[in-house]
């Protein structure tokens, strides 16, 4: 089995799917240009040499154009993997994604399918407020879209392959600090979750979460980068005798509610960690689900650890304060005992 970064795992997923199915193609800005990075974070690096510029399609800087092309070609029978350089630019694509992609199957009574994938890097990485947002909650709120958020190389490959094969539009959120990209695209403060990725064919099913660490005293739910914050916090908490269970839902829509509820029923405590702003966030929704469905199993209030309700700051020291830290997770957990 090969050791791979998430960027490499995603690249392999795309390669395998493009080899398997001629309808699969990539579209985005600077994803195939000779001498380029292979997209903003090297995911498509070298694929243009293998598959040609017809299937690794560079576009002008027009996000709504990329999204429109993806929706239209998917409706017409292709299986596009669209790429946006920063998740923040998904706002430019909102009409295509929320009004068109998400609604077509419903409005056509199931006769029209939109089997597109929209890949989007998120997370605050010293690029300022317009290149830092975590937009997952905007999309978990739109019925008709599936939303995945892989945090390991194994899941990145398996989930992207499942996304390509899904007949629904799937938004794939990738965290900039988790790509493990090398060279000029390596990120300061990267977690580099390099992991073993099977060379052979495998899929990670959409809608199945995973327990990253078992524990009996508190459930910590994280996604993307905050899974690692939660795991680091759990190690420290263990030294204080608190056994934290860390859950990574991997898919946000449809959410593996059962996994979270079962864990909370075991531990009686829940802390949700996410990088998005607090208000109206995904963490709020998880908290509501647990309050509704596992209230009588709770032994303490549900806590959210998230970014404050401000744009992401540009100054590194302030950004460090802004993104939920391991220490904040520990503090939140300890307040429940």
């Amino acid at each position: 089995m090969a050791e791979m970064s998430i960027a490499e795992a995603l690249r392999q997923a795309i390669r395998e799917e493009m080899q398997r199915d001629p309808r699969v193609f990539c579209v985005g800005e600077d994803i195939g240009i000779t001498g380029g990075f292979g997209g903003a974070f090297t995911v498509t690096l070298g694929l243009a040499d293998e598959f040609g510029h017809e299937r690794i399609l560079d576009t002008p800087i027009s996000e709504i154009g990329i999204a429109g092309l993806a929706v239209g070609s998917a409706m017409a029978g292709l299986r596009p993997i669209a790429d946006v350089q920063y998740g923040d630019f998904l706002f430019c694509m909102m009409d295509q994604l929320a009004n068109q992609a998400a609604k077509m199957t419903y409005m056509s009574g199931g006769t029209v399918k939109v089997p597109m994938v929209m890949r989007a890097p998120v997370g605050s990485t010293r690029r300022g407020a317009q290149h830092a947002q975590s937009l997952e909650a905007f999309f978990t709120h739109v019925p008709g879209l599936k939303v995945v958020a892989p945090s390991t190389a194994y899941d990145a490959k398996g989930l992207l392959k499942s996304a390509v094969r899904d007949d629904n539009p799937v938004i794939v959120f990738e965290h900039k600090l988790l790509y493990g990209s090398k060279g000029p695209r390596s990120e300061a403060g990267s977690v580099s979750p390099i992991g073993e990725v099977p060379e052979e064919e495998y899929l990670v099913p959409i809608g199945k979460g995973i327990t990253r660490r078992e524990g009996s005293d508190v459930t910590i739910v994280g996604k993307l980068l905050t899974v690692y914050r939660a795991l680091a916090a759990a190690e420290k908490l263990a030294q204080d005798g608190i056994q934290a269970e860390v859950i990574d839902p991997r898919t946000l829509v449809p959410l593996d509610k059962e996994l979270i509820l079962e864990s909370v029923c075991k531990t009686g405590r829940l802390v949700i960690v996410e990088e998005d702003n607090l208000t109206g966030g995904w963490a709020a929704d998880v908290a509501a689900i647990v309050a509704e469905e596992a209230f009588f199993w709770l032994d303490a209030p549900i806590k959210r650890v998230s970014a404050p309700d401000t744009p992401a700051p540009f100054a590194p020291v302030m950004e460090e304060f802004y993104v939920p830290s391991e220490e904040r997770v520990i503090e939140a957990v300890k307040a429940l005992f």
Binding site: G268, F296, W297, L298, D299, A300, L336
Partner: protein, 445 residues
């Protein structure tokens, strides 16, 4: 400036009241004069009006709480008045967002756990569930959780501390009934469980307790445990005092009520609807005027013979016996008595009588005729001197001259306190009542 909501004073005899309900929730807007909450005294349930307009805040009393009169139980604040003076921000769920939160307990020195000091216990849903599964009273739990709440580990700690031999339910009832501490027993059942036989054996060894043991089939359990409080507590206290403190003698006499029945029918035909109670009140008004010694009370070592005649009417209500008082009975026309009685009885049954309407009687009338009771020995409503019990009016064969004729007969039972009055005057009074029942035209005289 917030206005305090006080429990109003309710006459001289009321010290504490029970809060029945809030009509407004914390944070709700209320207008001055609107019903704000209901209280129950030993005699009545009353709606209390809001003393000011504004927003209800700082509620400190919950339904069921017993509260001293004149104590503050909430505030009415101006709508835009977040709180008086500078206050730290309160937790949005805190029961009294208008009073400063209690200092956060230091968990190393303080075990709060009994809630916010106002009867609320903070306990996690998980802990509550576990406590309920094991029938553990929440008051018994010590809180070590966040924000002074009882959490699962506190319930587990209680369970560990109270772990002992298990016992079968039957054995437990027997042991508890005999006052036997079964925790010290060695169980012979599966897993060392204490069984019925173990308890029987233990009780046989303890000869004193053995007499208490009864076969399990005879063990009775209360289907309901009703705390003796409010109206019931007052009845219990008064009746016992009446039975033990007064020298009660009951005289009975049978009266021929044929004329009274006829009078009532005639009145009804002419549009005056009076009950037998109304007629007896009317008769008592006249008879007591002539026999003032029966319209008296014993207060300390003084017999007070009253000028005014206020007759209490025993009313059977859902909440228990209530005795609303009809005032100045001797000065009122029958129709007036009838209207007043009707309204008093209705309000007594609805729990709406004021404390003043339920006190100040000088004599009591009680009527069990509607239940088919012929004669009984009513208890005096102390400190009054006497009570008249009226039985059912029943058509009976009676000798009139040498002939047997059908007459409407009624038994009258007069209980009097022999400390205040002797048998002679009491008998003469009853005789006069009988006469007025039999010869109703004398009411005109």
């Amino acid at each position: 400036m917030a206005t305090e909501v006080l429990v109003p004073p309710l006459g001289q005899t009321v010290d504490t009241v029970t809060l029945v309900a809030w009509y407004k929730a914390e944070g709700e807007t209320v207008a001055q004069g609107e019903s704000l909450f209901a209280i129950e005294t030993d005699k009545a349930t009353l709606d209390i009006e809001a003393p000011a307009s504004g927003v209800l805040r700082g509620v400190t009393a919950q339904p069921g709480d017993e509260i001293k009169v004149l104590s503050p139980i909430a505030l009415i604040a101006a709508p835009d008045e977040a709180a008086e003076g500078p206050r730290p921000p309160a937790h949005p769920c805190s029961a009294d967002s208008d009073t400063p939160p209690a200092p956060r307990p230091d968990r190393t020195t303080e075990k709060r756990g009994r809630g916010d000091g106002r009867g609320r216990i903070f306990i996690s849903p998980r802990a509550r569930r576990l406590a309920e599964e094991h029938s553990i009273p929440l008051e018994a739990l010590e809180a070590t959780g966040p924000e002074g709440a009882i959490i699962e580990r506190d319930v587990r700690a209680y369970l560990d501390a109270h772990a002992g031999p298990s016992i079968t339910p039957v054995a437990r009832r027997m042991a508890d009934g005999a006052g036997l501490d079964w925790r010290g027993l060695t169980g012979s059942g599966p897993g060392g469980r204490v069984t019925r036989d173990d308890v029987v054996q233990a009780l046989e060894k303890a000869p004193k307790a053995a007499a208490v043991v009864t076969a399990p089939a005879e063990i009775n359990e209360a289907i309901e445990s009703i705390p003796l409080r409010s109206v019931r507590a007052v009845i219990a206290e008064r009746m016992l005092r009446s039975a033990t403190d007064a020298a009660q003698v009951t005289l009975t006499a049978e009266a021929d009520a044929t004329a009274l029945v006829k009078l009532r029918d005639q009145l009804a035909q002419d549009g005056v609807n009076a009950s037998y109670n109304d007629l007896f009140l009317y008769i008592l008004g006249r008879a007591l005027t002539e026999h003032p010694l029966l319209n008296a009370s014993l207060e300390g070592d003084t017999i007070k013979v009253w000028q005014r005649i206020h007759i209490g009417l025993a009313v059977d209500t859902e909440r228990g016996l209530l005795v609303p008082v009809v005032r100045n009975v001797d000065r009122k026309r029958l129709l007036q008595l009838s209207e007043e009685t009707l309204s008093l009885v209705d309000r007594a049954r609805a729990g709406q009588c004021t404390p003043d309407e339920l006190s100040g009687g000088t004599f009591t009338l009680t009527n069990l005729g509607m239940f088919g009771i012929d004669a009984f020995t009513p208890l005096i409503n102390l400190p009054e001197c006497a009570v008249l019990g009226v039985g059912r009016i029943k058509r009976q064969p009676v000798m009139v001259g040498d002939e047997v004729v059908g007459r409407e007969m009624v038994w009258l039972s007069l209980t009097f306190d022999h400390r205040l009055v002797d048998g002679g005057p009491a008998a003469r009074f009853l005789q006069r009542v009988v006469q007025l029942v039999e010869r109703t035209h004398l009411l005109m005289a």
